[in-house]
Symmetry: C2
């Protein structure tokens, strides 16, 4: 095993130079003027895969940005790992808040990374994390070859919704068949506390449009005698929670997994301070569903938030109007085993039931995704866990994230395979923000952990 | 008395021509490019007053648009009437919805006005109604002279809030001393059902700003564990009414005048159909405070409406955000003897009491005005009532309006005089809208009624 560490030590400058080359390409998927850069980036990745002996390397066309694919089948009797990552990056606005050019990567020391961190757009999300896999392949290749079959799929539209990825995997189900999927696009608790994300919340995102009177009315002439859709919308929103801050939609909790006291206690052992948490967002106290801790509320419990509301006069000054319409965008984060389509339906039914007959309610669905949960008992999880422990000298904590990565649930649905989220990012990495960076040690430890995963998994 | 009718019949074409000249001046107070037109309009009115023998005719400068003033003191022992009106008009947008140019008055027949109506911006509000008074002066002048002292004050900022009028009347308290004030800037029930507005609601207009977390948060990572200011704002708004749709602010109803069954029955005799009312605004049923009719709810009862609400993501599509802030504009219509400053304070105290300690609440006051009520027992009211009855062959119904004209309460406060609102407009006149118009018969009947008021009042 020392060979892995040694190889990394010997090649780290080359690894960084290669990553820098990748980071210099402004492959922003949200901006059409970067189409050429997207192609350049895909071609560079293809050449990297070819260099590691992948066969059938392809730049697969989609309706949007291409997907880079490669595979190396050693032996059909051996297990197959599918790696997923993305080469597109977020836009750089607000550009004036960057301390160095986003596509001219440089190394700077920070308090968290005294050994140095790579500053560039995509350094962590996801070029840096995705490239760790390609460098793990290089190590495997130079130390006796791949111990199993490996497939890799790197998309260019993750930052704009992965619309064409789902179509691609539907079409290539056979080709993408695998035993386990590896993704490095998440984080760990802190630099010294490794963790593996085993749960993600799902989501359903809805919009309400309430219509009261058929036009805006003068609030003096009509006020008090005609329903006001904003007042009514507030009433409806308020009815969605009870005094215990439980969601009141009938059937909403029916499929929610309840955890045993033992499991909740284990969850509670994750280093976390309620006081520091409140302070970090400037509120007096965390709050939410009665009977749960903040960690639980944002991981194993579903929730409902109004993400936007508008209606009537919203400019400066005053206007005495009873508006005809009022709107709200409402999303619900879901947990296993809730299904988003069913929850959307329950939500819609309930809203229509509680709304006054004096308003017309239109409920529409923006999008959704299923929650995801993977077991800590699988061979793949145990192999990853042992690899982290080898590198970080600490058993990684299995955590459940409050956010959603809908594509992970889609992988399971279409490919019937579980995913191990081997993330090495930190909250402080400023992904999606100015001055995104990625610790050099996170990058190198990631390469080592991923490489060791393969040895553990195929042992 | 026939002399009045006869004079009008003989001079109606001249009256209309003179009104048309006034209507051709685009005296829009909201747009600074019309400053010159404002002056032209004020000068034309001054010359009209001089023609009727008013003394001390002045164009009184203010910080904004000037006020035209004139007076004719016959005898200090005789009563004094003060007439108030305004010569400024609303903007014409959306101009494309006008069927004729707003400042080129023309006469067209309508189903309500088969005898013809004057189409122009300001035809009813308020040039047409204000000019009826000047024409009444002409009739008085040509039929034995003024029967009492008359003062007239015509402002040019009514459509933009009358900010400088209050300063003017404060400064000129002595000069404006009077026994009664006459204003024609309201309407009547319908063309054949005269009415006199004896009550106006007051108002207080507030704004709420709720701050939860110190920045917008990702609703996946934080959802369920941190207060969402939009959800909280909805809860607060909902708490402002109980299930009977009564306002829950402690002390809110303390000063509200309760009417006897007899008075409410009389009020109920006004021609009004709840079904037609609902239909006219496209709702299933009127609704509001339990135990009251729609007429009562919008005249003798106070109410609370959210006039605007906003927070979070309100553009197309979706964004998963827990916003830092949420806002609402909330106005309350008040009835005698509520006082708006006190109600603002009660509102503010209550909001702060019910808000969660996890949000910061800023309550601010936009503006307000006192409710107004005048007696049907005064000599002035009876004189006006008899004049309407002479002209329309029907006793006018005393009505209470849901809207607010704050300056009327200010007149009472500063000048210690009551106002008689002798309005001749109709709901269908489209004031503030495209194709504003004023029935020729409303205009001529108005002149006759006003003239007869003076004879009744000085008898």
């Amino acid at each position: 095993m020392d060979k892995v560490k040694e190889y990394i030590e010997r090649n780290k400058n080359k690894f960084l130079e290669e990553l820098f080359e990748l980071l210099r390409i402004p492959s922003i998927s949200a901006k059409s003027e970067h189409k050429k850069d997207i192609i350049t980036c895909a071609e560079l990745l293809k050449s990297h895969l070819e260099k590691q002996g992948f066969n059938n390397c392809e730049i697969c066309k989609t309706k949007g940005n291409p997907i880079v694919y490669g595979e190396k089948i050693i032996d059909n009797k051996l297990p197959t790992v599918l790696v997923y990552g993305h080469y597109d990056v977020q836009p750089t606005d607000p550009i004036e808040l960057w301390n160095s050019a986003p596509f001219e990567p440089i190394i700077k020391k920070t308090s968290i990374h005294p050994e140095g961190a790579i500053f560039a757009r995509g350094a962590c999300d996801d070029k840096g994390q995705m490239f760790m896999h390609i460098k793990a392949f290089e190590i495997l290749n130079n130390n006796g070859g791949f111990p199993c079959n490996i497939k890799i799929m790197i998309e260019g539209e993750e930052e704009i919704g992965s619309d064409n990825l789902e179509i691609f995997i539907e079409k290539n189900k056979r080709k993408l068949e695998c035993d386990i999927i590896l993704v490095s696009d998440t984080g760990m608790i802190d630099k010294k506390t490794p963790s593996i994300t085993i749960g993600l919340r799902g989501m359903t995102y809805m919009e309400l449009e309430l219509t009261g009177p058929n036009r805006d009315l003068h609030s003096g002439h009509y006020g008090g005698s005609v329903i006001n859709p904003i007042n009514e919308l507030s009433r409806i929103i308020n009815l969605l929670h009870d005094n215990e801050k439980k969601i009141t939609i009938p059937g909403f909790y029916d499929e929610v997994i309840e955890y045993s006291d033992f499991e909740r206690k284990k969850m509670g052992s994750i280093p976390f301070s309620e006081i520091e948490y409140a302070k970090s967002v400037g509120i007096t106290n965390p709050s939410g569903e009665n009977g749960y801790t903040s960690i639980e509320r944002r991981s194993i419990r579903p929730c409902l938030d109004v993400n936007g509301i508008w209606g009537g006069y919203t400019e400066e000054g005053s206007k005495t109007v009873i508006p005809s319409k009022a709107y709200a965008k409402i999303s619900m984060r879901l947990v296993p085993n809730q299904r988003w389509k069913k929850i959307s339906q329950l939500f819609s039914n309930y809203i229509k039931k509680i709304a006054s007959p004096n308003v017309t309610v239109k409920v529409s669905e923006h999008h959704g995704g299923e929650p995801y949960l993977t077991s800590t008992e699988s061979k793949a999880y145990k192999s990853a866990s042992k690899a982290y422990e080898d590198v970080f000298k600490k058993e990684p904590i299995p955590t459940k994230d409050g956010g959603s990565i809908p594509i992970i649930a889609q992988f399971e649905k279409i490919l019937k395979s579980k995913t191990i989220l081997m993330g090495f990012g930190l909250d402080s990495d400023a992904i999606h923000s100015p001055n995104e960076h990625y610790g050099i040690s996170n990058f190198l430890n990631g390469i080592e952990t991923i490489t060791k995963f393969y040895y553990n998994y195929t042992k």
